[in-house]
Amino acid sequence: MPHLIRRIWHLFTAHLDGLLLGAVLLLMATGLIVLFSASNASLPRVGSQLMNMLVALAVMWLLANIPPHYLMRLSLPAYLIGLTLLILVAIPHIGVEAKGARRWLSLGITRIQPSEFMKIAVPLMLAWYFHRYEATLKIGSYLAAAVLLVIPVALIARQPDLGTAVLIFASGCYVLFLAGLSWRIIGGIAVAAMASLPFVWSVLHDYQRQRILTLLDPMQDPLGAGYHIIQSTIALGSGGLTGKGWLHGTQTHLDFIPERTTDFIFAVYSEEFGLIGNLLLVLLFLLIIARGMVITANAQTLFARLLAGAITLTFFTYAFVNMGMVSGILPVVGVPLPLVSYGGTSLVTICLGFGILMSIQTHRKLVQT
């Protein structure tokens, strides 16, 4: 009997990566602890986030057990389906509008957000593309890949959902870079990007421009977006070296921090756990990223390498953009702190990515020739 249980346990854990899983669980636990404080000790809130986490972990386990070559076969269909859904969303009356943005599709009982799906589908597609044409890569191939990237990003930016568009764009750029885009082109693009800044400025929505201006001078809009920045920097700054202690953040508990369970949860953490807490958190993020990079470096196919790299670096982007926004060095865009912020959707997407990482790592020996 114990032998059988051991067999089952082995089958169950065979494709999990211990180090990655441990770090993810640690980060999730931190999230629950901060959420408890941020939600004014609301157990139902914490409970529902715990449920979200269990779902996300189940998804992670599932993906970890799917061998990468199956994923490769899904890449093109996934991308095409995602793109179709994005186009549907863009059509008035079909896409569902809320808070001034058209991001959702209604499925009767529930509604889905195709842009969330594209966070995985885009790097999957690009990785597959480079893998497929590995032998015949020319400059034109990179151009084609860039088109594959820009179409969904433009559709998402138009919704408008700048946060998601930036994340997906970044993930695509990582694939392009890792796939060996020549330095000369990178330099050219950098110069062109600088030159086109005035144009980009002119096509931004008024509120997006406002957010950037607010970053430069928060007092310009003390009741609007500036309020978030002013209050969250006060929270961070007043936290000091060791923080005010769990459940003792005054900024948090006197309602000065807006959206403090979701996008601004880092302000709560930072106020209560201070600079030392921040150091630990950043190290924890670094640990996950480092593990991801090791998996990436050891991956065996180009597809696996590119995908693993994109997933790892996108995770880094999430964390950096969120913490940068809360500490006032990046404009306020709707990006949650991965694995910590309240909310199920991004949690599932991120764990899905980690599932893929684990799959790439643990199916390695099996594919060896």
Binding site: L223, T233, I234
Partner: protein, 636 residues
């Protein structure tokens, strides 16, 4: 064999090289990650170590709090300055639920100090469900000085409970203007999302109320004003110690309406307990003089969240007081449709004024008999007489000759079945029957077809015809103004409180009707005839001015062929609606109206007298009770 091994050797080396390239790029990214995280950490270090003292003071003294100052909401007055909506200041007792652990117990304890009725509790509970937990919610409004003193002495016992001075919205006219002015109410989550989407959220910090219906909703942006900001230093207990900087709020704009409160009241009283609607319009401008939907309700009930009991009463009443009948109620126009039909006939050259038919009392279409109200018929009937005596047969034949396409084209021009664009939200479209409409309305192909027989009853304003009282009034005003059509509007001008600058809601004509003046003259002459010698004569007997009108009766239930409609036998709710359209003085009209009295039978008897009272008040400045005689009313 050897070739193969060489080849694979190159491939192997290529792969090696590729992996080395890849790892180099990965290492660059790793460096970037470290660099950016270091940068981030540097920022943390700057905030939390270098600037810690500064931010700590900010958080500590804190709280240099940025307090929004809600602006005064604009006042709404009628054309003569009578106040319809204004603000007053009062003290409220408010609880912030997130700062209170046992809400019920705290309310019980508060109940020992100030009077808290079960009604207050129910209202509070409802508010609680609709609001965010960190909002400060009123448990009692309008505290007396005594109550304030008693609470102040015990304040230390109640963290999270506060007395606040607040501006309250009041509607001094009660239910008189409930359907036009509308009311405000506490901002709910949906409205919050909407404000956020429109980038208005910042301006609503500090504002608890928002327009929910009527002008309060449609002119929300004008009425609200601009929120001010005050930077105050607060002590650890949350009380303001001193003000550091202040930007004053800008009060909302005032609305001056075209409505006449006196006239509105006359209409309201004339209706008595009957249900219905009246819309009176100034033909030369499209300004709305009276806008009544009966019954109304007291908008003051809604301002602070209506308690469930009152809500249920209003919501479940069979009289449906919440429905804005003038704007969203649709009715068959009945015989009030006939003058417009006659004008269509003249315009399209289907009739001359002199052309007469012989009315046997019915019109045969196929083997279906369309009956006239008058048994035996009206004899020889020309256009003038057809309107004055309201002859059905004349219009059965006419409708058949015009055809549905011509009818719907002409009536569409007059605004029938099209939203008028009035500045009150919630307007219904009504139904202007046409082939196209029927195709859209029905699913089955056999139902989608338009049958020629259906056109017949359209001619007397029955059948699929269904319009709002506002549309009927606007069409009447268009006749009165010789074919110039305006967008009806309630608000005359918006006034900036500071600069006294007035922005007029301009009396722009929407269009000029394509009709000949001599044709209009025929119709107008006949409408005068109605009030002089026709179906409207009793109601207007002895009036010192010349008026024009047309009675109408709208069927609520269908009557089978051969069956006679006997009012006393029909249940009250299924009795016919009484209608009347009119304008006066006939030569230079200053007021045009449409009135509908639900389930009251003939228009001549129930609706026309209300029009008489309105005209007497508006033109003569007096309130006359019209002669009432019920027994001998002429059916229209």
């Amino acid at each position: 064999m050897s070739e193969f091994s060489i080849n694979s050797g190159i491939e192997f080396r290529n792969a090696e090289l590729e992996i080395r390239h890849f790892r180099a790029r990965l290492a660059i990214m790793a460096g970037l990650v470290l660099l950016l995280f270091a940068l981030l950490f540097l920022r943390f270090f700057y905030l939390q170590s270098v600037m810690h003292a500064h931010y700590n003071t900010l958080a500590e003294a804190n709280r240099i709090s940025i307090v929004p100052i809600a602006p005064n909401r604009g006042v709404i007055v009628d054309r003569k300055g009578v106040v319809l909506a204004h603000n007053y200041s009062a003290y409220t007792l408010e609880i912030t639920p997130s700062r209170v652990t046992n809400l019920e117990a705290v309310i019980d304890e508060l109940g020992e100090l100030v009077d808290i009725t079960p009604k207050d509790r129910r209202r509070f509970k409802k508010l609680l469900e609709e609001s965010r937990r960190f909002d400060s919610l009123p448990i009692r409004t309008r505290l007396s000085d005594d109550e304030i003193a008693r609470f102040a002495a015990n304040r230390y016992r109640f963290p999270g409970v506060d007395v606040k001075a607040r501006l309250f919205r009041q509607y001094p006219q009660g239910d008189l203007f409930s359907h036009v002015v509308g009311h405000i109410g506490r901002i709910n989550q949906r409205e919050l999302d909407q404000l956020e989407a429109n980038e208005l959220l910042a301006n609503y910090r500090g504002t608890d109320y928002i327009g929910k219906t009527g002008l309060e909703l449609s002119y929300e942006r004008s009425l609200h004003g601009t929120t001010g900001v005050e930077q105050v230093e607060v002590d650890s207990g949350g009380r303001a110690v001193r003000t550091l900087a202040r930007t004053a709020p800008v009060s909302g704009n005032n609305l001056v309406l075209n409505l006449d409160a006196g006239l509105q009241e006359v209409v309201y009283r004339a209706f008595g307990d009957r249900r219905g609607a009246l819309v009176a319009i100034e033909p030369e401008t499209g300004g709305v003089l009276a806008f009544v939907s009966k019954p109304g309700f007291d908008p003051n009930l809604f301002v602070d969240g209506i308690d469930p009991q009152n809500w249920a009463e209003l919501n479940n009443s069979p009289d449906r007081p919440m429905v804005n009948r003038a704007l969203a109620g649709t009715y068959s126009p009945g015989s009030t449709f006939k003058p417009f039909m006659a004008l269509a006939a003249l315009t399209y050259g289907k009739r001359t004024p002199q052309q007469a038919i012989s009315d046997p009392g019915y019109f045969m279409f196929g083997n279906h008999q369309f009956r006239d109200d008058k048994v035996g018929g009206h004899g020889m009937v020309d256009m003038h007489k057809s309107i004055v005596v309201s002859c059905d047969t004349y219009y059965y034949v006419l409708a058949n000759d015009l055809g549905i396409d011509a009818i719907s084209r002409f009536m569409g021009q007059l605004g029938f079945g099209i939203r008028s664009g009035i500045d009150v939200p919630g307007e219904a479209e009504g139904v202007l029957p046409s082939q196209e409409w029927k195709k859209k309305r029905f699913r089955k192909p056999e139902q989608q077809r338009w049958y020629a027989g259906e056109t017949i009853s359209i001619g007397i304003g029955q059948g699929y015809n269904s319009y709002t009282p506002l549309q009927i009034a606007a069409a009447t005003a268009t006749i009165a103004s010789d074919g110039v059509m305006f967008r009806p509007h309630i608000v005359n001008y918006v006034e900036d409180v500071r600069t006294r600058e007035r922005t007029f809601i301009e009396p722009k004509p929407v269009r000029k009707l394509d009709v000949k003046p001599e044709h209009l003259a025929v119709i107008k002459q006949a409408l005068i005839g109605v009030n002089k010698e026709g179906t409207g004569r009793r109601a207007f007997a002895g009036a010192p001015y010349v008026s024009a009108g047309k009675t109408g009766t709208a069927q609520v239930i269908g009557i089978k062929p051969g069956e006679k409609y006997v009012e006393s036998r029909v249940q009250e709710r299924f009795r016919d609606h009484a209608l009347f359209i009119a304008y006066a003085p006939a030569d230079r009209p200053t007021i045009a109206l449409a009135v509908i009295v639900e389930n009251s039978g003939f228009g001549a008897r129930a609706a026309a007298p209300i029009a008489r009272e309105v005209f007497d008040y508006y033109l003569l400045g007096k309130e006359v009770k019209p002669v009432k005689d019920d027994d001998d009313a002429t059916p229209d």
